[in-house]
Amino acid sequence: MNIVSVTEKIFTWFGEKITPAFVSASIAGAKGIFRPIFTLSDKKQDKDSRSYAALREGLTEGIAIPVYLMSGQIATAIAKKKAKPDGMSDEQFKKIIFKKEPYDVKKLAGTKFEHATTQDMINLRNNFFKMKGTLSMLGVFASALVIIPALCSLTIKPIMRLAKNASQTSKKENQVATVAPKKQIFKGNPLNNVYSSYSYGMKVGGV
């Protein structure tokens, strides 16, 4: 396998397989990693604000990933419904749209579509992918404009509260640990502790 065929395969995968929803989800994933890192390294803000902002940004992008992916799935399901001609079975439609080569129209003999041409099959397939792309894009737009900000507003507050409580509890525990009375140090005869009872004194068996 030479470099040209490897490159072609990579280009084909990125150009044909990835949907608008996948692109947006992966950008959200990358932003979910890098944006909090940049925020945490912002020395102009105090430490608490930085960690609050970083957590909020990470959560926002974390919420965005499943929303985008789900919008892609919904788009595919709607496109299948919209593009499928009335009276065609699901199985037949899947074979027409997911096979790379044009569907053999002879297989449609005896059905409502027996007079369909190969060009009709190509058009049907093209229409499905056009609808899928458009719906996926509209889903991404709706997610970016309304769904994700709304979900963030609903979920971020309780999560932030939990995170705040957790950090306060751990701070308190640390404070308690620092002011806790020191452990009593055994000041008696070292020979009286447990270890010494095995190490010293009379040994039975001479070991």
Partner: protein
């Protein structure tokens, strides 16, 4: 009703937008710039100055993202990927179409026409718009689009293989590998531009802008 929805979903404008990563991500970023600050402003649990500060910061961040994106993707990643494919990776691979186009922009213009059905393409060659369009505004849009397509054909040259393919063939070759190469470039450009460059640039720009508008002062209060 259903044919109207189907026509809307397969309209050339939406289809071309959905197939163009750079344009799509730009629109999405624009929507984030509207949606996110709007929801912050609607939050009743926040006090007015915090709302103002957070929404302005989010708006600025998204606008900077959009600016960085528009500056970097078409110029660096799209041109770069096409040049890399043309002069490097696909240089000696005839049949892929890389030698037929001057640049990525010309290829995308060709592809836009190739995506149309035969009847629509015939109209372009005959220099006519669709007679079924009656609305004056839509007529003007169709006329503008026709002129744009006529320019593309002129640039291709009347004797060229591409010109003849668009004119005579039912399904002209779309040279999908070139499209895939451009999309790959846009995809990685989007990741680098939005996840690495934009946060770093906004980090340097947001604070001075916020101060200039007196919003950082509000937060300190």
């Amino acid at each position: 009703m259903i044919p109207a929805i189907n026509n809307f979903l397969t309209s050339p404008l939406l289809v071309n937008l959905s197939q163009n990563t750079a344009a799509r991500v730009s629109c999405e970023t624009g929507m984030k710039a509207v949606g996110r600050p709007a929801f912050v402003l609607m939050d009743k649990d926040l006090d007015s100055s915090t709302k103002k500060y957070s929404s302005a910061k989010e708006l600025l961040y998204q606008l900077i993202c959009l600016g960085v994106y528009l500056a970097v993707i078409p110029t660096v990643f799209k041109r770069g990927t096409f040049a890399l494919a043309k002069n490097g990776i696909l240089k000696n691979t005839p049949g892929k179409g890389v030698e037929l186009f001057k640049n990525g922009k010309q290829y995308l213009q060709y592809r836009e026409i190739a995506n149309l059905d035969k009847a629509a393409r015939t109209r372009i060659f005959e220099n006519k718009i669709d007679v079924t369009i009656t609305d004056a505004k839509k007529k003007k849009q169709a006329q503008n689009l026709l002129e744009k397509h006529r320019k593309t054909l002129e640039n291709l040259g009347k004797d060229s293989k591409l010109y003849n393919a668009l004119k005579n063939e039912e399904n002209p070759e779309k040279y999908n590998l070139l499209y895939n190469a451009l999309e790959t470039g846009s995809y990685f450009g989007s990741l680098i531009g939005l996840a690495i460059l934009a946060p770093e640039i906004s980090h340097h720009l947001i604070h001075p802008i916020m101060k200039a508008f007196g919003l950082e002062k509000d937060q300190n209060k």
